[in-house]
């Protein structure tokens, strides 16, 4: 299960953090989280691995995770101990990948306004609220659709699909197929 309340120290980045800097291609011959984590953010923030502690959060600007579809990127971030990523917006493949590997991810416009590295952030996934505790600022996050939350809570897409299959009968990858249109769902 994913923690509903997350509190951690922030690593703060700007716009367009692409998956090439999150985990450079030269490390993609490995598929192991522990190995990938050693090189996480290496081309953007070479000291990230030394600084990062279990339970920290990443706070970033627009279009986080742009570029390559490499799932190694959220795997490396999760493997580094990051508990949650909060960004102004995400690239869609990275968004799907993060949910699929069980890495909490929150879209939160305005969140970088006065964020500084080392600030304490509190994220309430259920309430859709992000708080910069250090600066005393609270932000409204974009609500995560219930069925995506279901994937996250199951620990990722594979456990979620497996649960559906174990329930017997035809594989239903989503229960949301017939839900009404919600154009503000910024997820895929």
């Amino acid at each position: 299960m994913t923690d509903v309340l997350i509190e951690g120290t922030a690593h703060v980045y700007g716009d367009n953090v692409d998956t090439d800097v999150i985990i450079p291609a030269r490390y993609l011959t490995s598929t192991e989280a522990e190995e990938l984590a050693k090189h996480c953010m290496e081309d953007l923030d070479p000291e990230f691995c030394e600084r990062c502690n279990h339970g920290d959060v990443i706070v970033a600007g627009r279009n986080f995770g742009s570029g390559s579809s490499r799932e190694h990127a959220p795997i490396a971030i999760k493997g580094s101990g990051i508990a949650c990523i909060v960004a102004e917006s995400f690239a869609r493949i990275f968004y799907r990948n993060s949910i699929n590997v069980g890495l909490p991810i929150v879209e939160c416009p305005g969140v970088t306004a006065d964020a500084e590295p080392g600030d304490t952030f509190r994220v309430d996934l259920d309430a859709g609220r992000v708080e910069n505790v250090t600066r005393g600022r609270t932000y409204e996050a974009t609500a995560m659709p219930e069925f995506m939350r279901g994937i996250l809570d199951a620990g990722g897409l594979m456990p979620w699909v497996k649960r559906q299959m174990d329930d017997g009968g035809e594989v239903r990858v989503t229960v949301a197929a017939n839900e009404p249109a919600q154009a503000d769902w910024r997820l895929d």
Partner: protein, 436 residues
Amino acid sequence: MSQTITQKILARAAGVDHVEPGEIVMCDVDLAMGNDITAPVAIARFRELGVSRVWDPSKIALVPSHFVPAKDIASAGLMTTMREFAREQEIEHFFELGRGGIEHILLPEQALALPGMVIIGADSHSCTYGGIGAFSTGVGSTDLAAVLATGRIWLRVPESVKFVYEGRPGPWVIGKDLILHVISVVGDDGCAYQAMEHTGPALQHLSQDSRFTLTNMAIEGGAKSGIIPPDDVTLAYVKSRQEASGRHGHFDVYESDPGAAYAGVHEVDVSALEPQIAVPSLPSKSQPVSTVERVPVDQVFIGSCTNAKIEDLRIAAHILRGRRADPRVRLMVIPATQEIWLQANEEGLLQVFAEAGATVSTPTCGACLGGHMGVLGPGEVCVSTSNRNYVGRMGHREAKVYLANPAVAAATAIFGRVAHPDEVGVAPLDLDVVPA
């Protein structure tokens, strides 16, 4: 109710008459693809499910492309994982080294990617297949694993943004210049979650090769997909590929209804465009070549899923024929597929490149992603026909990458600095598919 081509394809795949942007639909997948970076992770996830067989081996393509030929023991292992999975699951469309190439050019060439399909590829440039009127998008490995097991994927129906191209492309201007210009207008995430639909009278002048570049770089504009409704040029291409490959899969041709709704419409006068170049380190930093500082370069790379098709190689060879790359420049030419390599060889293009001082390699994505076969060192500058000039993309984080079309790349190789093809003093190659 009126629908875009994207809505129609997703509605068909979801088994309904109509879908609306924003709606979540379960779609049957017509073709699923993984490469040597993404497929091994997908295979591991597939195993976790405890499913013994893939949903349909005939609808899966596995293409080793990024680290081929295997660059080290670890990458050899990735390919072994794919190869063994393909054998175990009786996946016929596994493209071994020397019989394949870069997946995004290979699958349409082999008539596996067809108009009207829903194609899910575990590679971000899977949007390329929209160039023949398919709905196609990139996903990660876990999404691919779910498709391998179930044959289905959930998708949010995207809003569409329409790009209307007017006029006739000027000298040296191809699909690459159109899409670089568009990305400079909309921004790196300007079409996030959306489908880019390319239309307009100027497209009739663009070859199918050139069109693939338009859809290839949808992801660099943040888009979920790019699509070009098929016309005679596309249908002739598809027919010729079906005949050449002997694969005659059924396909459907869709077009947008006149009253379909768009989230935005952009008009582009292509006759006013000159060749573009994206300066470091974002594709949106595209501008006309004539306005860019003539910086010296260390490497010129003509390759990748973006610009290593036969038309691209003909353009580069046209400029390089009888000339030599500047001694300070390493020039690399990497055809996208084995078939393109053979065609270029037959046309004498590979000889032209070699005589110009280029190295010509077997198809691989290698250099584009800084994987192998041409990795940049600290402070080096490269003009590349690929799609990403991000920090560290092609090697060291202090290397600098400029993105351009093959004509600009070839001219740059000759002068040893960023150059406009006009500087070479050779008449432009007429690429217009409409006779003058």
